[in-house]
Each structure stands twice: as structure tokens, then as C-alpha cells.
Symmetry: C2
Subunit: 334 residues, 2 copies
């Protein structure tokens, strides 16, 4: 069995109270007592039991991350950002998956509550109206990352998808493109889907371009969605877009893969713009032009905000983080 402060107290010939003081450097003891206690503690390989501390202090210094099961590559960056900041603040991080389509969401959240996490970061979790009540009942602060709740009832950290899509589309237009496809977007997704469609549409209109609904290809942000859309494009000569705005880097790569098979050159024959700036974007050839989301920083910011909120007991303010257009090799001027 692992040593406890009782063991240390007994061996050092002091009380547990004094041991506790020494271990926590609270002062109020003679140096030689401290030396002795510390030596015994080390000798015994003592490690404090956080369960006991949490219990008595009514604080676990733990935050929870809940994310979908799907492993898109950028989650690692987000987790890194969260963990780094949490670590700096002396918090630990516990992780659960909400499953595909949130099937495990309730369980995940219960798990978190039983673990008495002090706050939760929900990454890419799309909440329904009904979830909101359950979450309120949890009585644990929940911050959304790259997501948004119905009616913005929960604080969030995300980029402005509308603005990003608007800027991306405008950039393509500035490059001389007049027929631009929007690929892989989920129109049922009110947080990342509809705003991007709206931004795309608005940019087109602002430039006086005609909106062709056939150029909007629904999908689910995956590589396969890009493949499907591009296959359709190739099979539909009357469409002939000169540029594709894909709603994720993976989708963009799906588009490019089909082009590659068909012998189309990127960007000479078709411009492709991605979204995310995930690690892969800079590693492919030609390197992918894309809308950057600062995932690592978003993770950091989310952890920061949550922990600050915990410590100050102030409500957490939502924050829009800046996107950035990254010009690399897949968009060319017409």
C-alpha cells in the first residue's frame, strides 16, 4: 500500500497536521521538522492522493474534454493546446468521446460530472435544443470549441464561418474566377454548414455573380465528399467551374484526387481552396491554399477562458478567433 501522511507522521514523530503543512509549504514549523518530514516522505515514496484532496477541498482541478469519435487530424492540435494551458494552470485534463452523432454524449457528460470536473470543453459538438436542458442540469460550465449551441445559449470559441467563407470566395473571385463550386458542405449543419453557404452566396452576390445552386455540393466535410462532388462535376460538362472552394482540407484533397486521376492539373486546370489549414495542407504537393483555423491557439484560448471563468466565477464570454487565408499552390489566377 502506498504511504500516507499518517505513515509519515508516525515515523517523523509529528502530527498529520504538521506533515500536511510541510508538504504544502504552509509555514508554521521549524526548518528541522520540515527537513525530517520531507526526508521521510521521500524515503517512503509518498505521493499525495488527489481523491482525498479533491474530496476535502471540494475542487478537483480537472477539466474535461468531450469530442466526437471521428478522428480528424486537427483534434490532436486542439488537445495539445488545451492540455498545455491546463497544465500551466495546474489543471489536469480528462477526455471522453461523445461517439458518432453524439450517441454517447449524455454518458460522457455524466462521466464528467461524477469525476467532478470543474468545467468542460466540448469540441465540435453540435448540440440540439434538448441537450441544452440536460447540460444546464449538469451545473458545470461548458465551453464550446468550434461549435455553437442553438440560440447561443452556451459560450463558444470559434472562427466566424460566414466571414471566412465570404473572404475565401471573394479571394477566388479576385483571382478572376467566375464559376466557383462550393463542395462538401452540410446544409443541415447550422454552425459550420449554413454560415459557409451564406458567406459563399453573399460574396458571389457582392461581386455581381450569378448563384448557381447546382454548384453547391452537399457533403460531410470528408475526403469522400470531395471525391463524389468532383466526380459529379467532371460528369456534368455544363457546370465547368474554374475553382472549387472545399469546406475542409480533407474535402479539398478528395477533389484533387479525382482531378489527378482524370489528368487535370492543379491549379492550372482547376483552382482548389481548402478550409482548416490542418497539418497536411502544407505537406501535400502542390501545397494546399486554405482558410486557416488556429487550432492549437483555439485549444489554448478555450482552456484559458474556461479556467479563468472557474477562478473568477465570471460567466465566460464567447470569442470569435481570426481565420487567415493562406495562399499556397492550389489557387491560380485566371
Amino acid at each position: 500500500m502506498r504511504a500516507t501522511i499518517k505513515d509519515i507522521a508516525k515515523i517523523s514523530g509529528v502530527s498529520t497536521a504538521t506533515v500536511s503543512r510541510v508538504l504544502n509549504e504552509l509555514g508554521g514549523y521549524r526548518p528541522e521538522v520540515a527537513t525530517k518530514v520531507l526526508a521521510v516522505a521521500k524515503e517512503l515514496g509518498y505521493r499525495r492522493n488527489d481523491s482525498a484532496v479533491s474530496l476535502v477541498k471540494q475542487a478537483t482541478r480537472t477539466i474535461g474534454i468531450v469530442m466526437p469519435t471521428v478522428a480528424t487530424s486537427f483534434y490532436a492540435q486542439i488537445i495539445n493546446g488545451i492540455e498545455d494551458r491546463a497544465y500551466q494552470a495546474g489543471y489536469s485534463v480528462i477526455l471522453t468521446h461523445a461517439g458518432v452523432n453524439n450517441v454517447r454524449l449524455q454518458e460522457s457528460l455524466n462521466f464528467m460530472v461524477e469525476r467532478r470536473v470543474e468545467g468542460i470543453i466540448g469540441v465540435s459538438i453540435n448540440l440540439a435544443q434538448i441537450d441544452l436542458q440536460a447540460i444546464a442540469a449538469l451545473a458545470v460550465p461548458l465551453l464550446l470549441l468550434s461549435a455553437q449551441a442553438p440560440g447561443n445559449r452556451l459560450p463558444y470559441v470559434k472562427v466566424d464561418d460566414y466571414a471566412a467563407a465570404y473572404a475565401a470566395t471573394t479571394d477566388l473571385i479576385d483571382h478572376g474566377h467566375r464559376t466557383i463550386a462550393l463542395v462538401g458542405v452540410d446544409p443541415a449543419d447550422s454552425v459550420a454548414g449554413r454560415p459557409r453557404i451564406a458567406g459563399y452566396t453573399a460574396a458571389l452576390q457582392a461581386a455581381g455573380l450569378r448563384l448557381d445552386r447546382n454548384l453547391i455540393f452537399p457533403g460531410d466535410y470528408t475526403f469522400e465528399a470531395g471525391q463524389r462532388a468532383m466526380t459529379t462535376i467532371l460528369a456534368t460538362p455544363e457546370l465547368r467551374p474554374t475553382a472549387v472552394f472545399a469546406v475542409s482540407d480533407e474535402t479539398a484533397l478528395g477533389v484533387i484526387a479525382v482531378c489527378y486521376q482524370a489528368g487535370l492539373r492543379i491549379p492550372q486546370d482547376l483552382s482548389v481552396l481548402g478550409y482548416d489549414n490542418s497539418a497536411i495542407a502544407s505537406m501535400v504537393s502542390p501545397a494546399l491554399s486554405t482558410v486557416a483555423q488556429p487550432f492549437y491557439e483555439m485549444g489554448q484560448l478555450a482552456a484559458d477562458k474556461l479556467i479563468t471563468g472557474l477562478q473568477t466565477n465570471q460567466p465566460i464570454q464567447s470569442q470569435i478567433v481570426p481565420f487567415k487565408l493562406i495562399h499556397r499552390g492550389t489557387v491560380s489566377s485566371l
Copy 2:
């Protein structure tokens, strides 16, 4: 304040012992008592306090993951695998980063012990001799994933890098290549570096090919390492390999990126073989031929083994998991 079993007991008019029995379905109470208790619990939004349970049960049902800070894309898959299995077994997962070059390793491990995790999975953690003693002192089972300890003093789950490198090199030879570069490998890395060099060397010798040490390009598995090596190759005409075996997919992409810049076509002008089969490998064009490591399954297996070890109290057996050569578009026959 959150409701406790005391609150439930008081309101239900029974003792905390009975509440505990009901909540844990231990039997030994009248159904109507159970109904009442459950109703009150629900009413109060009761959630059990795992700190208290852990404390009294001397078991946290938590496992820890320690990994390097660098966020290579496949960590997400590994974490997914671990978390899925842990979840199935009723364990939760807590996560820390050991920092770059393990600078935070000791702290991470202490953290884990204070959290009283029942076991730890160390992902890609290269341990030095000295760490071993500290880890032994921890008195917590530690399983290595994609790593190995000096003298194999710790159980591990990984692929056989020697065999994989041997098979990969042989495959290149079978495709008619006679001059094959090995790129991005760290000769100081005894777990993933030296075995791959050895496998590469052995395959060459088995085929009766001459080993040219200049064709081994040291590196650190990164994209940049691939770029550097390929730049050198292009600048050194007497080398002229017809194939490159990169020690990671990212390194392979670095190689390809330089080729792309230089106007070399893959695989017509140079064959490139990667290592990992990370998600990107199948998304790039041409799709990357590579040595597959089953990351998700490795995560599952590691969690399985660790938890089984915990429950049976048996020592954990190391396991070599199978790699697989994935032929896609970046290797051609000569």
C-alpha cells in the same frame, strides 16, 4: 452544492447505507424503498462523487496516457483506440504531455500517481535508463505503445520495425530498384531508428546489393527532414537513388515536395515509400505507398492489455503487432 447521499437519505427517510445499496443495486431492500430513493435521487439531480468512491474503494478506474507534445497526426487515432476500449471497460482516461524530449516526463508521471491512475500507457515515449528507476518507484503498471524501454524492462505494444524496414526495402528491390535511399531516420533512436536502419541494411545485403552509407539520411521523422534529404540528393548527382524509403509519411511528403518543386514526377522519376499509413497517406495525390501501422487497433490493444493486467493482476506481455505494406501510387517498377 451538489446533492449527496445524505440528502437523499434524509429526504427519503432511510439511512445512507440503504441509499448506497439502492444506488448500486446491491439488493437487500424493499422495492418501494428503492423506488422512493431513486425518485429522490433523480429529483435532486444526484451524481455520485467519484473522488469519494475512489478514496474508499482504493480504486480510481482511471488510466493515464502520456505522450510527447509534438502532435503528429496519428496520435488522434491512438487516443481514439485507447479511449474506446477504456470506455467499454468502464475506465476513464486522463491525458498529459511529457513535453518535447520528455522534459515534463517526471512531472507527468507524478501527476498520474497523484491522480492514482491504475495504469499508464506511454505513447512514443523513449525512456532512458534513468527513467526506468523512477518508473519502478512509481509502482504503477506502465505499458509502452510504439516505444520500447532499454533492455525491454517494460511491456510494449509496437510493430517490429526491423521486420517492417526489411520488408519495405525488399519490396522496393522487388520492384527493380537497386539504389535506395533511407531518409529521415534517427540513428540515435534505438527503438525506431536503429532497427529500421538494420532492416534496410539487411534487406540490401540479402539481395546482394552494396550498402552505400551516403544513402542513409539522418533525420527526425519530420516533413523537413524529408525536404533536407531530398535537397541533398538532388545536389549530389553521384548518388542518384531510384527509390526513397522514408521513415514516416510526413518525411515522405517532404521528399515528394522537393521533387515536385524540382519537376521530378512521382513515381516515374523516383519511387517513394512512406511509413505509418497515417490518414494523409491515402489522401494525397498520388496516394502514398507506405508501411501501415494499425494505430487505432494498437490503441485498443494497449488499453485492453493494460486493463486486463489490472484486473487479473498478471504481468502484461509485450506484443508485436503486424505491419502491412500498402501499395498505392508512389512506387513504380523499374
